[in-house]
Amino acid sequence: MSMSSETIVLPPSVSSRPAAIGLGDLPIIPVIILATIAFMAIFADVLAPHNPEVGSLTARFHPPFWQAGGNIDHLLGTDQLGRDVLSRLIFGARVSMVVGFTAVIFAGVVGTVLGILAGYLGGWVDQLIMRITDAWLALPALTFAIFLAAIVGPSMWNIVIILGLVYWTRYARVVRGEVLSLKEREFVRLAIVAGCSKMTIMRRHILPNVVNSAIVLATLMLGVVIVTEASLSFLGVGVPPPQPAWGLMLSDGKQGLMVGYWWLTVLPGCCIMLMVLSANLLGDWLRVKLDPQLRQL
């Protein structure tokens, strides 16, 4: 990504493509997966064959339909309370989508803004923000999240805010480091001698150049956030049961894994994996799209 003198210079006839982001080479598989998850989340009420929160104790631990003992009524089996796993996965998409994406974006916006301010302004602003960040990072993330959840009480939106508050420091760190090197770059100096104010420089010259790193970090954080949400649920301070969440299903199914009830963990685990992987691939594509130099190669 460095903009050095040996960058490839294309002849004008080749390079006169429009500056807008084209959608031609959108990575198709991740988009389909994310679209499916989003579709499930939106139309969960229509799609789910059963009520995800009500089970029947006479129908506990049914395996998926293709295994011996499974039946068509519960396509992906039932859990320890006899609730339909497919329905819970469909409704769980709602929680994971909302919690995962909003928490990552919330943390990203807070962390990026503070990171830019700290890195560019330096001095006491930097000291203040980075000491807070250090102190914040010194707290174990999960304990801190439990502490916050205990104060505000568990609900889905509280979890979003808590996860955002716990994880913004990661962005602040990465972005600040990036800004420290950016502000020594010649084009930032040129903006200074051209009379741009600090605000203008941060907004026009620094921010667009750190967005790439923030996006890459966000795609990685998505997995962390979903797993943390699962841990919180497991500890009873996350999305409150019986509301289905993939993380919660994963931790609930853990005991069953030893005795052969694999579908209780493997299926929500696959869902989490597919969502995180898709987000990673899409983030990678977006990163390339946002860089005009990579865009045309």
Binding site: M3, S4, T7, P12, E186, F187, L190, V193, C196, D291
Partner: protein, 351 residues
Amino acid sequence: MSNSTLSSVSSEPARGAAAVAARPLLEIDNLSTHYVSARGSRVVRAVDDVSLRIKPGETLGIVGESGSGKSTLALSILRVLPTAAQIVSGQMWFEGEDLVRKSDAEMRHVRGKRIAMILQDPMASLNPLFTIGNQVGEPIRVHEGADRADAWRRARALLKSVHIPSPETRVTQFPHEMSGGMRQRIVGAIGISCEPRLLIADEPTTSLDLTIQAQYLNLLRELQREHGLALIFITHNLGIVAKMCDKLVVMYAGRVVESGPVARIFNAPAHPYTQALLNSIPRMSDNRRRLTAIEGQPPDLSALPRGCAFAARCPAAFDRCHNEAPPEFNLDGGRTARCWLASVAVQSGAA
């Protein structure tokens, strides 16, 4: 030694002698910029007691070796020094206003609008994420509040004036799509976008190959003629000075050791350092086996010697040079030199 060519006009301090008809555009008086270490224990006198003046439309060359304070001087003029550096004394009169006493907000309206600057590495001076039109138009939008369409229209005209072919398509392209020479000219276009009165070029051609260098220098001259720009040209290439500049300031260890019209200094340098600089230019015609170099190292700017900073390396140094720093002496033809030899010439001429 060429002392015989010197004669005196006056022995007053340099300030009073420079009574000229045209009012200087920029008049720097006794400017000192120091870098101070965090605990204040080390003070580096990067720019020390520098005075110079430049008239509208004139080209002033500043030469000196690395670390002589050329770039710090340029940054001082725009007041964009790193945090460790401070202007500790002096005045900078620009169009009747003292830049040293301006607030940061006021300085922002000077930068890019009235005094523009081209940086040492114009190749890296463009933001890789924005189109050329955006970047050339940026100062116009910042300083004149022009809207996007207007800024782009003017950006196209500016690209045309720096001889970029098909500016209509170029404005929509990104820096990596341009050749080095083009990017350089684009940086030039950004420099003149708000029609400044003074353009400071800090070694703008060092990263270019020779053919493009010549092209770029011609372009700068052309822009200077068209816009009546005053140009401060910082370089260590004396060939460029000879080609481009009307007046020359030679800096050594943060001080101006010699200044005056280029032709006079080249014909008869008054300061031994200037003589040494001119002698170290390699020439095809002479048959010397080795190039002449200036022996020794420049002094540590945080521990300057008591006497003349150049004394330790000076072939003509005598006792006084080691014990007493020479002031700036006025010589004939608007020249000054910071050298006791010049004072000898002044006195013998007056006697």
